[in-house]
Amino acid sequence: MDSSSAAGDLGAAVNDPQLQHFIEVETQKQRFQQLVHQMTELCWEKCMDKPGPKLDSRAETCFVNCVERFIDTSQFILNRLEQTQKSKSAFSENLSD
């Protein structure tokens, strides 16, 4: 991964392996956090009626299932797109882009 273009004139520090590692780790952490924000918002709509004095077990189960099914959905779509792309290119090799 080439981060030197994005960092621009930050210079030699960009090639610092410690900094490289730091950027990788923080980017991963941030992806995780971002998806948690997104799924919390989405699942809140599906699982929350009226906020009560505590998160009841029914809602908690709903949130866990919601996360699992959201990831399943994302993987399913990715797989299916991959499949359709494959069969498409097999059938339409003479149809150039």
């Binding site: 520090a13 924000h37 799924m39 919390t40 906020p51 505590k54 949130f63 996360v67 990831i71």
Partner: protein, 92 residues
């Protein structure tokens, strides 16, 4: 010697340690803002039916409860996602 944002140490040389600390702080601030914004949106929807002339008592109670439940939800989602990642890593 207060190190402001953009002040990357002396001599024009970038101090990676200082830089990393600043990035961490900025990430934490961005995450807090993100949570605040989404929580405000969700709890406004849940608790403010018809905006009146002030935030009345029952609305304030609802918002307080909603905030706590939103944090619970956030933590539950974070845990569920994390355990899913662990499981997938174990299956690779």
């Amino acid at each position: 010697m207060a190190a402001g944002v953009g002040d990357f140490g002396s001599g024009g040389r970038l101090d990676p340690g200082v830089l990393m600390e600043q990035v961490k702080v900025q990430i934490a601030v961005a995450n807090a803002q993100e949570l605040l914004q989404r929580m405000t949106d969700k709890c406004f929807r849940k608790c403010i039916g018809k905006p009146g002339s002030s935030l009345d008592n029952s609305e304030q109670k609802c918002i307080a409860m909603c905030m706590d439940r939103y944090m619970d939800a956030w933590n539950t989602v974070s845990r569920a996602y994390n355990s899913r990642l662990q499981r997938e890593r174990a299956n690779m």
